[in-house]
């Protein structure tokens, strides 16, 4: 009880109506909270708490460094993966780069478009060029990944 009061007062001092509106309001509107986190391996996961799915992609920085992507190897749907497992690879002429599972779970879907259009990874790495969707077994893993700011600091 005391804690709540104290918190309420603290919030009052910092004008709660303006502070953190996204966090406070979004659940009320859609019951969905989408968070995006990054890894030092230049991958990103967009987690939707309504579906429990994490969409995995490589970052724009990664694609620009790799150059023209010519081949993408993706995991098999249904595979159970653990955070850190090698689940595929992205190949440019210059290099093959492993894709690691950024979170644990089951591979729910892979982006079949990439088989015929690997260039989507260059054109739209964090949207159309997504790699796979993982049904996350431990959603709290998201908290251990990097925020966008921390990710940028990791290589900038």
């Amino acid at each position: 009880m005391q804690a709540i009061l104290r918190q309420a007062r603290a919030s009052g001092l910092s004008r709660p109506q303006l502070a953190r509106p996204g966090v406070l309001r979004a659940p009320l509107l859609s019951r969905t909270l989408v968070t995006k986190r990054y890894t030092v391996e230049h991958e990103a996961v967009e987690y939707d708490d309504a579906t429990g799915l994490g969409i995995v992609c490589i970052t724009d920085h990664a694609q620009s460094s790799l150059g023209d992507v010519v081949f993408v190897e993706l995991p098999v749907v249904g595979t159970e993966v653990h955070k850190g497992d090698q689940i595929g690879a992205v190949e440019s002429v210059k290099a093959a780069s492993d894709i690691y599972a950024p979170v644990s779970g089951t591979i729910e879907e892979v982006n079949e478009e990439l088989a015929s259009q690997p260039g989507l990874l260059n054109k739209s790495p964090e949207a159309q060029g997504w790699l796979c969707k993982i049904k996350m077994s431990e959603p709290t893993e998201m908290e251990k990944l990097l925020t966008e700011e921390a990710y940028k600091d990791s290589w900038a």
Partner: protein
């Protein structure tokens, strides 16, 4: 006869073997101060080059936002200019220079006509390849030799020791050989189907007469430059040697449209499509020229009776056949890169290792070269190559993968 040069692309290939963060790390490792620069370093930087450590030098990987595939294709369809000034250029002079270089290499240099070049190999006592090299004969007593930047220390020590030995012996008494290192000289490679027309616009010299494998001193804008027809891409082209003080001027002259500056990335994919070796990947001191698919560099009359360093080991491989051979592959599915293991598809016995491999921009197929046990080297032989834990079907394929377009005369 293919005339080509090779240089160690280890750094950029090393990008290929680890996770996504490797490229950035590899680009960031060696501090710039430890690296040597060619005379064109500032020129590259001002042209937007991404500079990377390579064979002890800071060299351009790519320029601006031109991707490797676009850059590669430009050389195949138009023309590209490469700074290869990190390579080691030297002159060997003296009345016994021919005999000296025929002691160091298995090439027939006495029968080579003046102002002609040949690919050759420096061999160790066992017949293993110390380096591959292009030797250009100017006269019986004068040769221009280009060796790899990545082998600079080893080669220069080898030359110094063998020269001392030669000059102290009977041959040297007849006429000593001297080596002059062309330190800091520029070397530019102008490559591609439009290279000749472009260079012709800058000289009165009739380049039609300068056929593949020949060289000449060509007047270009008041300079008289050593121009060799050949290169490391499989395209028609030229390699131009330039005194240090004029390198920037010539680079500026040779890099106007349609010529595009081309970096190490495209250089590697172009040379591999052309089936050419990269020393350190595809050749090393434990590989004989017979294993390396370079038997053709050994002079015909020298196979039987040539007295060159390493002759015994080479002759053994010629006589008994080499235990393994360098071959090309087309690989299904994923590209097989350096280090990928090759297997017998039925017994899963290991057959050898891939030494270079890329998805070919020109062919849209995965090409590779590597070594297999003799008997598995014939065209069309089916093998399996392991990539990321999975076996991929591959077929032994003749090289070059892309047909060369050398200028051999009208």
């Amino acid at each position: 006869m293919a005339i080509w040069r090779s240089c160690s692309l280890r750094t950029s290939l090393a990008l290929g073997k680890t996770s996504l963060h490797a490229p950035f790390r590899a680009l960031a490792t060696a501090a710039p101060s430890e690296l040597k620069k060619t005379g064109l370093y500032d020129f590259h930087v001002s042209n937007g080059a991404k500079m990377v450590p390579f064979a002890g030098y800071s060299m351009p990987l790519s320029y601006g936002d031109v991707g490797q595939v676009a850059s590669h294709n430009h050389v195949r369809t138009s023309a590209g200019l490469f700074d290869v000034g990190h390579m080691v250029q030297s002159m060997f002079r003296g009345s016994t220079a021919t005999a000296f270089l025929e002691w160091l290499t298995p090439s027939s240099l006495s029968s080579l006509s003046p102002y002609s070049s040949t690919l050759s190999v420096l061999l160790n006592e066992r017949g293993g390849i110390i380096d591959d090299t292009i030797i250009t004969k100017h006269a019986e007593d004068a040769f221009y030799v280009v060796t790899n930047a990545g082998r600079r220390v080893r080669d220069l020590a080898w030359f110094a020791e063998r020269l001392a030995e030669w000059n102290a012996g009977d041959a040297g008494a007849k006429g000593p050989v001297e080596m002059e290192l062309l330190e800091d000289w520029g070397l530019l490679a102008l490559q591609g189907p439009e290279a000749a027309a472009y260079l012709q616009s800058l000289t009165s010299y009739d380049l039609k007469t300068l056929t593949f494998g020949k060289s000449a001193f060509v007047p270009i804008e008041g300079l008289n430059l050593h121009v060799a027809r050949g290169g490391y891409t499989g395209e028609d082209g030229f390699e131009i040697s330039i005194p240090p003080s004029q390198t920037v001027q010539v680079a500026e002259l040779l890099s106007k449209a349609p010529v595009q500056l081309t970096g190490l990335g495209a250089r590697d994919s172009l040379r591999l499509e052309a089936g050419m070796c990269l020393y350190g990947n595809d050749l090393d001191e434990d590989t004989s020229p017979v294993e390396g698919g370079l038997t053709w560099v050994i002079g015909k009359e020298r196979k039987e009776s040539g007295t060159f360093i390493g002759a015994e080991g080479v002759r053994q491989h010629l006589k008994d056949g080499p235990p393994r051979r360098r071959v090309g592959f087309i690989v299904e599915g994923a590209p097989a890169r350096q280090g990928a293991k090759i297997f017998d598809p039925s017994t899963k016995e290991p057959l050898g290792t891939v030494t270079s491999g890329i998805p070919s921009p020109t062919l849209g197929k995965n090409i590779a070269m590597g070594y297999v046990l003799s008997g598995w080297h014939k065209k069309g032989t089916a093998v399996e190559i392991e990539v990321r834990g999975k076996m991929r079907t591959a077929a032994v394929t003749p090289m070059p993968f892309v047909k060369p377009k050398y200028w051999r005369g009208a």
